[in-house]
């Protein structure tokens, strides 16, 4: 066992930390509290932030050098994610493009596609959203029905996608579409669609938080050039699954870093409002303990990455742990703060350190998206425990 970061990783972390100190002008939580901020102004702020990161050489870290990368390892990617959290930097605007589409193009796209799409993706001049989920295909994603019919040099796309993050601000969408109704997995293709295409309509989807960072995208005879197909026809499922695997481990340290910060904020708020009794302390302590265990899981995952091991079912354990923890954490936070914990950010009486009401609501999304807790448990039962499958 050796849990020390190597010299190289320490150097990377320290340089990045110094760069962030210089470049994160105002913590993200303060930007959110700014009364002059609007949804649109925050998007523009994030676009500018992403350009800054790109100029600093911190995007596409593990991509080939010709696409702006620096040949970084998975360990450096994890350090990067954790340091962004630590610095309370604005979230990266084009994260779906960078985390999913970028690797898909690098590993499965054509040279022409890479040259056309990667530079504006890095510079945030073209924002991408993800078209995977459908009203009838959530956890059972492979039952998706949005169809792409090949007519000459064009696909004709019909159907509906939902839960498209940043749909309302995006320029392009990468879509999993059915090209063969009879072949469940092999009948799915990976297609890039410009949202301005005639026949494509984006509608904001109002969430339980009242915000609309998700959208619905409708396709009615939308005609898309065949050149926008990534990989071969019928390879969409395979591409999507391999791309999702590249991201595993990237958040090994990010969540516990974030929760340490928010737990310290909660403890501070409790002290300020005079909540210091043993019942309060026990609740806080249980959260601290769970977060430390999450950190230990993260350190183990990071060490395994450094050791050249690609996370398998550990990724499901990580998702299950942090998302279920976050629900308990945000729930307890409101209990500890009392009715004031329910106040909206826009209310001047609300606690300044964290938007507790919004976090409580948002945590309800986390055990659903990116593979619900039930899907993660199914994966663990099958792949990690080899339990006999039904029927």
């Amino acid at each position: 066992m050796d849990l020390h970061l190597s010299e190289r990783h320490l150097r990377f972390r320290d340089e990045l930390r110094a760069w962030l100190e210089k470049n994160v002008v105002r913590p993200w939580r303060e930007e959110l509290r700014d009364p002059t901020a609007s949804e649109d102004s925050l998007i523009e702020l994030r676009r500018a932030w992403q350009k800054k990161l790109h100029a600093g050489g911190y995007l596409g870290l593990d991509w080939p050098k010709e696409w702006g990368g620096r040949g970084a390892t998975a360990v450096e990617k994890s350090i990067f994610e954790a340091e962004l959290v630590r610095a309370d930097a604005p979230p990266i605007l084009n994260f779906l493009g960078l985390s999913l589409l970028g690797p898909a193009l690098i590993h499965h796209g054509s040279e022409e596609q890479r040259r056309r799409f990667i530079p504006p993706m890095l510079s945030a001049d073209e924002i991408w959203c993800q078209g995977f989920s459908e009203p009838g295909a959530g956890s059972d994603l492979a039952s998706l029905k949005t169809a792409a019919r090949l007519e000459g040099d064009e696909f004709v796309v019909n159907g509906q996608k939902v839960w498209t993050t940043y749909g309302p601000w995006a320029d392009w969408i990468f879509v999993l579409a059915r090209t063969d109704a009879k072949n469940r997995y092999g009948g799915i293709s990976f297609i890039l669609v410009e949202l301005r295409t005639p026949g494509v309509t984006v509608r904001p989807l109002r969430q339980i938080t009242g915000e609309s960072e998700f959208g619905e995208v409708f396709f009615e005879d939308a005609r898309v050039p065949r050149a926008n197909l990534v990989g071969q026809i019928g390879e969409g499922w395979k591409i999507a699954m391999t791309v999702l695997a590249y991201e595993r481990g990237a958040t090994a340290l990010a969540y516990s870093t974030r929760y340490s910060r928010d737990l310290a904020a909660l403890a501070h708020a409790c002290r300020e409002v005079g909540r210091t009794g043993p019942a309060v302390r026990e609740k806080l302590a249980r959260l601290v303990v769970e977060n430390e265990v999450m950190r230990a899981n993260g350190v183990r995952m990071l060490a395994n990455l450094a050791d050249g091991k690609i996370p398998g079912p550990e990724a499901s354990m990580e998702k299950l742990f942090w998302s279920e923890f976050d629900k308990r954490f945000r729930d307890t936070a409101i209990d500890l703060l009392g009715p004031g914990g329910l106040l909206l950010r826009s209310c001047s009486e609300a606690r300044p350190e964290v938007d507790w009401a919004r976090e409580f609501l948002w945590s309800r999304a986390e055990t659903i998206f990116s593979g619900s807790s039930e899907v993660q448990r199914n994966i663990l039962a099958k792949r990690a425990l080899s339990l006999p499958q039904e029927g």
């Binding site: 066992m1 026990e282 302590a285 265990v293 230990a296």
Partner: protein, 350 residues
């Protein structure tokens, strides 16, 4: 960076697992705890000494192996897996206290070889929150009472904590057995009126709390891992409604949660042990968190193990009860969950 055990550590784990499986099968444990009033077999204890497990972290001069907290965790995990009856954890902690105090080479050598059993007497009351029964020293004599002294009837010497420091006293002791739900762990009330030698300041015990927490958590890890494995095998073969019960999603999801708890405990235990070996500033927080989490996790996993076995899980004969009982005992001692929660908050600066 590397989380996996080194080749030497793996060898230690494999040989401990093989040795303990041969030496302490559950049937043998059933027999010993029912027929031997001492609660363990001294001959088997001596063989633990021969294998080097009793002096694992002690210096070579006293016959020890000079290994660290990670290696101690490895052996404790295996002791937990086998649910070995006897004072292994208690003696390891007493040895660490003696070693931290300095000197006492002869007693340490006897511990390492298995000739002497020494444990720590530290509980001042039977129930949490009860007023301490009081222990004091005057003119080289130790007077008073301690509760839940591990294996006091078999101990050659006890290390007794008092507000003024740690004292060593030698057998014989006035022992009143305190039989608990766990027959593999023997406790007693001890009434002292003994000549005693002051061997360390009170803060030496406090300094060893993180090691005690990590060590108990390592044993809890072994206890829950084995109960989990037995259960996993069972649900794959046990048939009900015409199919193996492990194919029911109602069980699969709970088993997935149990796996998450077992593996998370593993991460927490070995990270804590590594932090202790490397004087890492996170050691106290990591150790308190590991013990608090492991206590909850082990009770839950061992409880699920009995539940998923159904009626047979509730029988004395099957032996699953030993895991639940050890889990609950370890959870209550070596700094209970409540104590560890307080320590974790303090260590986190909250």
């Amino acid at each position: 960076m590397r989380f996996e055990l080194s080749d030497d550590q793996r060898l230690l784990r494999d040989s401990a697992r093989d040795f303990l499986a041969a030496e302490f099968p559950l049937e043998e444990t059933q027999r010993v705890v029912e027929h031997d009033p001492r609660g363990f077999d001294p001959a088997a204890w001596a063989r633990l000494g021969e294998m080097g497990y009793l002096g694992l972290t002690l210096p070579a001069e006293v016959g020890g192996q000079q290994l660290g907290a990670v290696e101690l965790a490895i052996v404790l995990e295996e002791m937990g897996r086998a649910c070995v009856p006897g004072p292994y954890l208690d003696v390891a902690l007493a040895a660490a206290l003696l070693a931290a105090a300095g000197g006492r080479e002869r007693l340490l050598a006897e511990i390492a070889s298995g000739k002497a059993i020494v444990t720590i007497a530290r509980q001042d009351a039977a129930f949490a929150g009860e007023a301490p029964c009081g222990i004091e020293t005057a003119n080289g004599k130790l007077r008073g009472r301690k509760y839940f002294v591990p294996f006091a009837a078999e101990a050659q010497a006890l290390l007794v904590t008092t507000p003024g420091g740690v004292y060593r006293t030698d057998a014989p002791f006035a022992v009143t057995p305190l039989p608990t739900l766990d027959p593999t762990q023997r406790f007693a009330r001890v009434d002292f009126d003994h000549v005693a030698e002051r061997m360390a300041a009170a803060d030496v015990v406090a300094g060893l709390e993180p090691l005690a927490a990590a060590a108990a958590a390592a044993m809890l890890l072994g206890v829950m891992s084995r109960a989990f494995e037995i259960t996993l095998d069972y649900v794959k073969t046990r048939q009900a409604f015409g199919r193996p019960i492990g194919s029911f999603q109602a069980l699969q999801h709970r088993l997935a949660d149990a796996l998450l708890r077992v593996e998370s405990t593993r991460s927490a235990v070995y990270r804590a042990a590594w932090c202790l070996d490397n004087a890492d500033p996170d050691a106290a927080l990591a150790a308190a968190s590991a013990k608090a989490y492991a206590g909850d996790a082990a009770r839950l996993v061992c409880g699920e193990s009995i539940q998923m076995h159904g009626g047979i899980g509730f029988t004395w004969e099957l032996g699953l009860h030993f895991f639940l009982k050890r889990a609950k005992t370890l959870e209550s001692h070596y700094g209970s969950t409540e104590v560890q929660l307080e320590r974790a908050l303090a260590a986190a600066g909250l």
